[in-house]
């Protein structure tokens, strides 16, 4: 137990990176999701096709492979990204694909009458999407998106392979130093668990807050 306490600051720093990567990727992933969901529903033929291809490719390949391609693969073409930057990019692109599907379903669940009421009052399609449809769709998408976010928190462990010192890699580094496994792995398991529980808690609060009109 002592080796955990004495190395706690190091592990907490790893936890900080895990959290940071999760939040940054969530943020950019959500932006990608909105754009891609709308592109798939309202874009012209080639835009729809492009958006579909993106979703299909990302969902059809392992996240680990995507991370490696962004970091090591792009380096072949002279694009040398910082590990952390590569992690942000790969995970945002990945989560964006999953979230866009969730959001697309949510947008499709909004009744036609909502568009008609907005159009009849003179709103343009863009105003309607922004003010009437998306706010409702996002509320519908939040519970499933929450699950994606929690899954995401755990998937950040994958970026340890590109030398980002998040939680998993901090444990691995300590193990290399002390030659004991269990205490460190248990410690980070507990920390992952605390983080995801905290996340669920916050998401539930947000959900409840947004459902006041139901």
């Amino acid at each position: 137990m002592d080796i955990i306490w004495s190395n706690l600051p190091f592990l907490l720093k790893g936890a900080y990176y895990t959290l940071l990567i999760t939040i940054v990727s969530m943020f950019f992933g959500s932006i990608i999701a909105v754009v891609v969901a709308i592109a798939r529903l309202k874009g012209n033929r080639s835009i729809r096709w492009l958006a579909r291809a993106y979703v299909s490719i990302i969902r059809g390949t392992p996240t680990l492979v995507q991370i490696i391609i962004v970091y090591y693969g792009l380096a072949d073409y002279g694009l040398n990204l910082q590990p952390l930057t590569a992690a942000y990019i790969a995970l945002s692109i990945s989560i964006g694909a999953y979230l866009s599907e969730t959001l697309r379903g949510a947008i499709q669940a909004i009744p036609k009458g909502q568009y008609e009421a907005a159009y009849a009052s003179g709103m343009t399609p863009i105003q309607t999407m922004k003010r009437i449809i998306l706010p409702q769709a996002i509320r519908i998408a939040i519970p499933p998106a929450g699950n994606t976010f929690i899954g995401m928190l755990k998937e950040t462990s994958l970026v340890s392979v590109i030398t980002v010192t998040e939680l998993l890699r901090s444990a691995q580094l300590l193990i290399a130093q002390y030659y004991v496994y269990m205490p460190f792995y248990l410690a980070i398991a507990v920390m992952y668990w605390i983080l995801s529980t905290g996340f669920s808690f916050i998401l539930e609060r947000i959900e409840r807050r947004l459902s006041i009109y139901e």
Partner: protein
């Protein structure tokens, strides 16, 4: 929006098909400024489709339509048509069978939304106007509630206030009371009647015969996508000219 004396709505050989099926055929009609017109007819006769063409919620397939001096016709380019429809909508309010209130916005926000987003008037002015309209439909005390907390009748009155917020010259109603429990119908009809007395031009699709008779200056009776009969409310209900209309009135009488 139009010179005094011009009709508010004028259609010429208006037609509409849904994937090859013609649901409106050669509709020629006018609605005068200040007139209250009820569109009656059996289910599936094309009443809603016609009403929705007045504000461009349905595209036209043929002919021409003019609303408040702004015309849309089948020969214009899509872009041109959209532009004209956009102009028409600024002067036209619509009330739907299912209310279609925005569930994520409060009653007051529902009413002022288009004022802020479309007309871009200052928030305070919009709120003053919104509250005035809510008072008019008797729902000012509900202004901070979300629509789902309201009864159907209250929701529909909010929807009417929302449509009035843009200060339209023309109001369109598509079966405004058909989704309501019977005991809630009257409060909505009362608001519409009150509106009729202010001289608002209105087109109302309804199955409420008594209401139509009372509030409408003129009846347009449709069946199978054509206007079968037109006349003053008095003429239509006491001396229907066509067999089809007589049959329809008899049916409605049996139902009610």
């Amino acid at each position: 929006m139009n010179k005094y004396g011009d009709p508010m709505i004028k259609t010429e050989n208006l037609s509409k098909s849904f994937s090859g099926l013609e649901v409106l055929k050669n509709i020629n009609l006018t609605v005068e400024t200040g007139e209250v017109v009820a569109i009656l007819g059996p289910s599936g006769s094309g009443k809603s489709t016609l009403l929705r063409m007045f504000n461009g919620l349905e595209e036209l397939s043929g002919g021409r339509i003019q609303v408040g001096g702004i015309s849309v016709d089948a020969n214009q380019s899509q872009r041109e048509r959209n532009k004209q429809i956009g102009k028409i909508r600024l002067h036209t309010g619509m009330v739907f069978q299912q209310f279609n209130l925005y569930p994520h916005k409060t009653v007051l926000q529902n009413v002022v939304e288009a004022l802020l987003i479309v007309k871009k008037i200052p928030r305070e002015k919009a709120i003053t106007l919104g509250e005035k309209l809510l008072k008019r439909v008797g729902l000012l005390e509900k202004k901070d509630q979300y629509p789902n907390r309201l009864s159907g009748g209250q929701q529909q009155r909010v929807a009417i206030a929302r449509a009035l917020a843009m200060e339209p010259d023309l109001m369109l109603f598509d079966e405004p009371t058909s989704a309501l429990d019977p005991e809630l119908v009257d409060e909505v009809l009362a608001v519409i009647k009150e509106l009729a007395h202010t001289g608002m031009t209105m087109v109302i699709v309804t199955h409420e015969m008594e209401f139509a008779r009372e509030v409408a200056d003129r009846i347009i009776f449709m069946a199978d996508g054509v206007v079968v009969e037109e006349g003053t409310s008095e003429e239509f209900f006491s001396r229907p000219k066509t067999e089809r209309a007589r049959k329809f009135l008899k049916m409605e009488e049996v139902i009610n």
